[in-house]
């Protein structure tokens, strides 16, 4: 009996010993967790994000990893559902024990994750749009995309240049559209704008002619802003053209992908929107520091996936880069140190713009990151 247990003990010790040697030889991988809406209604966000994360993690690993350690990516598909996102985040934290989380394609999924990462103390870089993610500032939460508020400000400054003061708004009554709508109202006074018509629709409405007719019949509308993403902006754009409304139509950065132009077809001609430099990579001035970065990213993405990179793909690229450079500077994966380093990100030139994070700003982008873009002949054309 005793000999048997001794044997077991000895073999256990041997196993433990070899395990430690093994660990010392090959450093433990850096674990990056991701939860993305790779399928479902928000897959136009999550699918390119997933491709980008997988591609660049593989490339980092081929080049020897970070700090000589390989990167291990654990990726889950939340299908755009916040409750699924919440259980996958628990899984990433508790079971996969990741060092940093990059993900959250939608604001809903991100907000479901926020209390969990805050409680567990894990650096989290979100890829979603709304301003509530970083305002008020949350210790462990960062984000890469521009906010809806910035888009509203950019649109207003463009309107101001054109002498427009009265505008109408038509927005999705949910998520991104609703948040954009509210942020627009908050900043309109700063630009001396007045809202004269305010219409909403549900994200899956196949037709918004009724709402647009109301806007058309409202006196004094000089421009119209549409807040929404996915199918709905294309529906609005088509109906807008059918009704022959003469006032210029502004879309948000939520449509900054070729898919929108494909869906809206000819009706998209003349639509203006704020977008990151990525969608007009080749048109940027050579003096623009961002140009080299976005042209390179656009080229690499097209080579691999035979499609133009949307800004959403860029958000994932920026998130991964910011996380990995922070780990590099921190000299390891100590979570508090990595968090501090992410917060100290200064002058990182990404696809979204130049990032200057600070303890009061966990996004680090300003309005210069946005370009005004007009759709001409089925393509985005720089227009500021």
């Amino acid at each position: 009996m005793t000999t048997k247990s001794l044997k077991i003990l000895a073999s256990a010790a041997a196993v433990a010993f070899t395990a430690t040697i093994g660990a010392a030889q090959a450093a433990e991988p850096i674990k990056i967790g991701a939860f993305l809406s790779a399928t479902g209604p928000a897959s136009f966000l999550g699918d390119p994000e997933k491709k980008v994360l997988e591609k660049y993690v593989a490339e980092f690993n081929k080049a020897g990893g970070v700090l000589g350690r390989q990167i291990e990516l654990t990726l889950y598909d939340d299908a755009g559902a916040a409750d699924k996102a919440s259980s996958f985040v628990k899984r990433l934290i508790e079971n996969d024990k990741v060092d940093v989380i990059v993900g959250g394609s939608t604001t809903g999924a991100t907000m479901a994750a926020v209390p969990l990462v805050e409680a567990a103390g894990i650096p989290f870089i979100s890829l979603a749009g709304a301003v509530v993610i970083v305002e008020p500032v949350k210790k462990w939460v960062f984000k890469t995309p521009h906010t809806d508020r910035m888009a509203a400000e950019k649109i207003f400054s463009d309107m101001k240049k054109k002498g427009i003061t009265k505008y109408a708004m038509i927005s999705e009554n949910a998520g991104f559209g609703k948040s954009g709508h509210d942020e627009t109202l908050k900043v309109q006074a700063n630009y001396g704008m007045t809202l004269v018509a305010d219409e909403t629709y549900a994200p899956k409405d196949p037709d918004v002619t009724a709402q647009l007719t109301k806007i058309k019949n409202t006196a004094g509308v000089q421009a119209v802003i549409n807040w929404g993403f996915g199918q709905s902006p294309a529906v609005v754009t088509k109906n807008y053209k059918q009704l022959g409304i003469a006032a210029p139509l502004y879309q948000s950065h939520g449509v900054a992908s070729k898919d929108y132009i494909k869906l809206a077809g000819d009706a998209a001609e003349g639509v203006r929107l704020p977008a990151a430099g990525l969608v007009v990579a080749n048109q940027l001035a050579n003096s623009d520091m961002q140009k080299a970065v976005v042209v390179k990213f656009q080229k690499e993405y097209q080579a691999d996936f035979k499609a133009e990179a949307s800004t959403f793909a860029g958000h994932a690229y920026d998130g991964l880069q910011i996380a990995l450079t922070a780990i590099q500077r921190a000299g390891g994966t100590d979570k508090a140190k990595v968090r501090d380093e992410i917060e100290k990100t200064q002058g990182y030139i990404g696809t979204g713009g130049t990032v200057h994070m600070s303890p009061t700003d966990h996004m680090g982008l300003n309005l210069s990151a946005f370009h005004m873009v007009e759709i001409k002949k089925g393509d985005f054309v720089l227009s500021d």
Binding site: A82, D83, S87, R91, E94, A112, P115, N173, A174
Partner: protein, 312 residues
């Protein structure tokens, strides 16, 4: 005989629930167990309706959602204590279920399924569109469940609450099934005309069991609102209702433990299948189709019938 097997089943479940957290390696597994527990509670209630009364509800997620949102809204907007909000939600759902069931259950056939389908979708639309109070598609956070000075926090604490609640629900359900009410229900399931001939007030029993199962769903919903960090309308939509019916049918109709197994199995399966990434929906669909084709009575009744055959 029936009574001893009932206590044996309940005892086995209690032992299982007590041992389970000791073998779960970390809180993620506990979280999945808690979610399975929530589904199981709703399914045991729903099984009373589907399995014993022979009626289908396609709106149980609506009742779950109504309970959840009642709690979330009363607690966050009006500062009610969570327990009071839970009871108010249950009362509301009970009255609503009674109001729908009373006229509709007098009709024969699957009218209840149609009515519940409608109610479920209406509830889901209201939750989605009344964003000022419900938070819309982005959801709402109900905060932690507090009672007196005690705050319920963390997966493990929740586990024990849900485990006890599940035991109580199963105890209630098995009691009901073995009572005169249960016998009346089974008679009704077998043949409605036959049941009426022997003097069973079929409408009354159908209404009773419908209201009971809706209230169980509402209570589970209220607690879920406090458990989850962000309550979203997906928990109240039509697909969730279908998922609940699937759990009951998959586990085995007219078997309380079947409903338990179905709920646990179908909660865990998507988590297990994430390793297959893109093939996940295909494999999930395949497993369910296979079960329905080869075990049309559901998992638990088929297996228990097989075991009794082997023994004899």
């Amino acid at each position: 005989m029936a009574s001893t097997s009932r206590w044996a089943g309940l005892g086995a479940l209690a032992v299982f629930l007590a041992v389970l957290p000791q073998v779960l390696p970390n809180n993620y597994y506990v979280d999945v167990a808690v979610l399975a527990g929530f589904n199981a509670i709703v399914c045991v209630g729903l099984n009373l309706l589907i399995g014993y009364a022979g009626q289908i509800s396609l709106g149980h997620a609506g009742f779950f959602g109504l309970g959840a949102y009642s709690s979330a809204i009363l607690v966050t907007h009006y500062g009610w204590p969570p327990l009071a909000a839970l009871l108010a939600g249950a009362l509301l759902v009970g009255l609503l279920a009674f109001a729908i069931a009373r006229p509709i259950l007098k009709l024969k056939g699957h009218y209840l399924a149609m009515a519940t389908l409608g109610i479920g979708i209406i509830i889901s639309i209201i939750i989605n569109t009344e964003a000022q109070i419900t938070g819309g598609p982005d959801g709402i956070a109900a905060g932690n469940f507090t009672l007196g000075g005690f705050e319920l926090k963390g997966e493990r604490a929740w586990y024990w609450v849900i485990a006890v609640l599940l035991l109580v629900t199963v105890w209630l359900a098995t009691n009901l099934v073995d009572s005169p009410v249960g016998r009346a229900l089974r008679a009704l399931h077998g043949s409605e005309v036959g049941a009426e001939v022997v003097g069973v007030d079929t409408t009354r029993y159908k209404v009773l069991v419908f209201v009971v199962s809706a209230v169980i769903a509402s209570i589970a919903g209220s607690l879920f609102a406090h458990y989850t960090s962000q309550l979203t309308p997906t928990k109240a939509d039509f697909f969730k209702s279908i998922e609940l019916v699937t759990m009951v049918v998959f586990g085995g109709m007219a078997s309380t433990f079947g409903a338990l197994v179905g709920a646990a199995f179908l909660t865990m399966l998507p988590q297990v299948l994430t390793v297959f990434e893109d093939y996940e929906p295909i494999i999930l669909g395949g497993i369910m189709m296979g079960t329905m084709i080869f075990m049309p009575r559901g998992l638990v009744p088929t297996i228990s019938a097989f075991l009794t055959r082997r023994r004899s």
